[in-house]
């Protein structure tokens, strides 16, 4: 599946000062979590100071998306990168809460807060 594909999970990748911003989109479930995993691992290879994952355009995420993010967090810790999440809709945030992972991740209200 090419990145130009409308259904691609990555909407945009941007390099900011000391950080890479990964903008996601669509529903993140079992059909797309492996694509997400590859994309995140790709970015983490570059060992950015911070990886900011912006989920403003993610309407739905289930535990396969969450598993990918937990793995990403553990890997980023090993790489010395800081993983930050932002733009979580209520229904996406609730997946973290139900799984009691909302305090484990660094979750920011806005991308600018996540970048500062």
């Amino acid at each position: 599946m090419s990145e130009a594909d409308k259904t691609g999970v990555v909407k945009n990748i941007r390099n900011e000062q000391n950080a890479v911003v990964l903008e996601l989109r669509g529903d993140i479930d079992m059909s797309r979590s492996s694509e997400l995993r590859e994309q995140i691992l790709d970015v983490l290879q570059q060992k950015p100071a911070a990886l900011v994952i912006n989920m403003t355009d993610v309407a739905f995420m289930d535990s396969s998306g969450l598993a990918t993010l937990v793995e990403a967090m553990q890997l980023s810790q090993r790489h010395g990168s800081s993983l930050r999440l932002t733009g979580l809709a209520t229904r996406v945030r609730s997946v973290f809460e139900i799984s009691r992972l909302d305090t484990i991740f660094e979750i920011y209200e806005s991308e600018s807060e996540a970048l500062s």
Binding site: D27, D29, M30, S31, F60, D62, S63, S64, L66, A67, T68, V70, E71, Q74, T90, R91, S94, V95, I98, S99, R100, L101, I104
Partner: protein
């Protein structure tokens, strides 16, 4: 639909393909809206159903394949605890003893192993059954709280 009328049964049949979980979510969203379920609860129900279907694909069938998964949606209106939606998910894959399907310790931070916990957190009743000749039946009930 007037909110006191009964939703008639709906059945959605797919094959064990992760792409289809979104088709089921769309159908469930429309059906739950017909009984006036609050938006927030529709989101939760869709999360629980996605976890349940993902588990069937992954554990019941051992991956994506052409085997069927059937979801039946029933509107329960006679329950003393109040109106509810019943979701019955049927597969024809591997059978496991229902009591072995349980959520793990959440204190351990690791990827995976959250599906059953999520299903049980969201649904008001959850029961696995392997009484049929083949596969599992997962029955889930969510009481209907109306949007204010």
């Amino acid at each position: 639909m007037s909110s006191d009328s009964k939703l008639k049964p709906i059945e959605v049949k797919i094959v064990a393909d992760p792409n289809y979980v979104s088709v089921v979510r769309s159908a469930v969203r429309s059906a739950a809206a017909l009984v006036g379920m609050a938006e927030e609860d529709i989101d939760s129900v869709n999360l629980a159903l996605s976890e349940a279907i993902t588990n069937v694909i992954r554990h019941g069938y051992g991956g994506s394949c052409d085997e069927p998964i059937i979801l039946n949606i029933n509107h329960l209106t006679d329950d003393p605890d109040g109106e509810a939606l019943e979701f019955v998910l049927r597969d024809f894959g591997k059978q496991v003893a229902p009591e072995t399907i349980k959520s793990r310790d959440l204190d351990e931070i690791r990827p995976g192993g959250l599906g059953v916990h999520i299903i049980k957190s969201i649904m008001d009743e959850v029961s696995y059954d392997c009484a049929e000749e083949k596969g599992m039946t997962l029955r889930m009930v969510k009481r209907v709280k109306r949007a204010p």
